[in-house]
Amino acid sequence: MSKILTVVRKEYLERVRSKSFVIATVLGPAIMSLFILMPMLLSETGKDEERIVGMVDPSGQWLQPMSGTIEKLELGNVRLQAVGNAEQPADQRVQALKDMIQSGELHSGLVLGEDFLHEPQATYYNQSVSSLVVRNEVLRPALNQVLREARFREKEVADGLFHYLIAGSQWQSIVITDEGEQEQDDNVSFGMAFVLIMIIYIMVIMYGNHTLTAVIEEKSTRMVEVLLASVSPEDLMLGKILGIGGAGLTQFAIWTGAFYALSRRGVEIGGFSLDIGFLTPMILISFIGFFVLGFFLYATMYAGIGAMCNTVQDSQQFHTTLAMGLVIPMMLLTMIMRAPDSTLSVVLSLVPLFSPILMFMRVSVSNPPVWQVALSWALLLVSIWFSSRAAGKLFRLGILMHGTSPTWGSLIKAVKA
């Protein structure tokens, strides 16, 4: 036992004292906050830039009210500009519109039918898919709004009744937590959940890879034979994983501490206030749980693979394949976020390789039953048990093996032997 602690101490201190640890600890939050701020900044700058949409409106009655609606409802920084004049035939005006889009004079163009009030046909000319945002978020809502208004007027609905008919509903969202109720800010909740998931993802990959390279380094410097004369391979592996994982947790503790300190002072970054309310005990505990278990699962696999490889290059193919276990759930995130409690989401989030990310995602954005979280932890523990036994086997077998580089086939054969 004391030998494991000696190994843990060495591996832990070596990492915590290293320059790269300090740099990652400082830069980590900066990169993380970029993840939150970038989308906000991007949408901000997008609004600032004025986009000119050319319009062919034969009846001449739609452009003015649409511009007014866009402005009133703050739909976006879009300016409508009439193309040609009423004397010109419609097809000539459309041709001019197309030319102006191609020459870059116009961002895109909107062509309305002659009797738009009764046959509401609109054609949208544009150069790229990204313009569809303008169509969906600006032009269509504005046009629908003014069309509805025009039709009410046509039927001579009284003004008071008219406003009553077109008014939409008013919404407010409240989150209920153990600490009480709170107005919900969608951006913050999703942002925070996303940041924590990114932390799990990056830290498991990064520290898992640390384990891999640490094992390979000991092999290539022939240090391992000296060590194995004093420690059993199993103890050496365990000590290494605990020490490296401890360094990861320390890093997270520093971040959380700094985060608390900043949020107490009410520091705002780029108009985005740090919201500590999101970090409920449930989320914090499951974060640590999923990070620790996820790290252990991947680190044991990485350690076993490292023991079989002679160089970091040898290990790359295995590293890439293993990392897929983390990349795939990242790609599924949006899907899970839309329906966190669907059967598919539940099943996927219970798969041990995925659950550090997917189950944690569900905990942060929804409120999954406790048994599901407990089950995913239990499944993780069972997988860790299996993978550490397999890794122990590979370790004993591979750690003194030099020469041939392994394949997946030879790894599986070695584990089964």
Binding site: S2, K3, T6, V7, K10, E14, E218, T221, R222, M223, V224, E225, V226, L227, L228, A229, S230, V231, S232, L400
Partner: protein, 316 residues
């Protein structure tokens, strides 16, 4: 942590015993039912050519590989983890953490052998002093020269004050001055009562330090005993001869088992019971003899004869 020294056998009694130890890698037999015992307080030469199975046997002793069969005793108890803490091991493939400071490195390796940290740091300082590396304690290993790194490795082997030390090809890659320094230190440790297994393929080196030897060839033990016993079992004679005119001894000399020409001198190994003096007239017929001496056979000569005998036995 360390077992009580009272479990140690008396001087000259077997400290480490291998019984019927075998290890095969796939179809290749690395060690075939080796039996040997190493007397306490001796320097025991583990000799044989490269690839003979020396390192495999040592790794089995250190539990780095598991033997397929056989048992290994320390005193009269089967060797286990805590007893292994009393064995120091310097592997043929040297290994140190390149980015770790020398003092940290030494104390870490001592701690892994069960030495408490404060004690380990003290011992690290004193070993650095003894090795003349006192000022390098806080430098990283990879800033040191190769010779210095070897000394650190050597210190790391002895820092846990083990009862038994296994040195695998300890002099490889060292200059003569450092070889001399380490040889003195090995003898000094022996004086302190440390038992040493000295594994090497350089037989001449072994002859200078060993009290007992074994010879391993093709995974099998073919000779085992004290130097006196081995010499008694192989009562060979050895003759050194040189000619002033560079001529060679005649091909048809009787009783010559083996001949070797090195640095202007011929070394002839004679069969048991032959008389070196009887050779002299024949040699003088070949040319003007400038050097003639009759010696004890070298370990190398014994080894060649042992291999020849062993092969004869296997054949018959």
């Amino acid at each position: 942590m360390n077992a009580q020294p009272s479990t140690l056998p008396g001087p000259g009694q077997p400290l480490l015993t291998l019984r019927d130890v075998s290890k095969r890698y796939g179809s290749k037999v690395a060690v075939r039912s080796v039996n040997l015992s190493i007397p306490r307080g001796s320097i025991y030469g583990f000799l044989g050519p490269n690839g003979a199975g020396k390192t495999t046997a040592i790794r089995a002793i250190m539990n780095i590989i598991l033997p397929d069969s056989g048992e290994i005793l320390f005193g009269d108890t089967p060797l286990d983890g805590s007893l292994r803490d009393r064995i120091g091991y310097l592997p043929e493939e040297r290994g140190l953490y390149r980015k770790m400071k020398c003092r940290e490195q030494l104390s870490y390796l001592a701690e892994l052998k069960g030495v408490p940290r404060s004690e380990a740091l003290q011992r690290a300082d004193s070993w650095l002093e003894r090795m003349g590396l006192g000022e390098y304690g806080h430098q990283k290993v990879d800033t040191l020269s190769k010779g210095m790194q070897q000394k650190i490795q050597f210190a790391a082997t002895f820092i846990s004050e083990p009862d038994l030390v296994i040195l695998d090809e300890v002099f490889t890659g060292l200059d003569p001055l450092n070889i001399e320094l380490l040889r003195e230190m090995i003898l000094e440790q022996k004086e302190k009562g440390v038992t040493i297994i000295f594994s090497t393929h350089m037989l001449a080196e072994a002859e200078k330090v060993c009290d007992s030897i074994c010879l391993i060839e093709g995974g099998e033990l073919i000779v085992d005993g004290t130097m006196e016993e081995v010499r008694r079992d192989f009562p060979l004679k050895s003759v050194q001869v040189a000619f002033a005119d560079q001529s060679a001894p005649p091909e048809d000399l009787p009783d010559v088992l083996h001949r070797e020409f090195k640095e202007g001198v011929w070394r002839l190994t004679l069969a048991e019971g032959s008389d070196p003096q009887a050779l002299l007239p024949r040699l003088m017929d070949s040319g003007p003899v400038s050097l003639f001496s009759a010696n004890r056979p070298s370990v190398g000569e014994i080894f060649l004869e042992a291999v020849a005998r062993h092969r004869g036995e296997v054949r018959s």
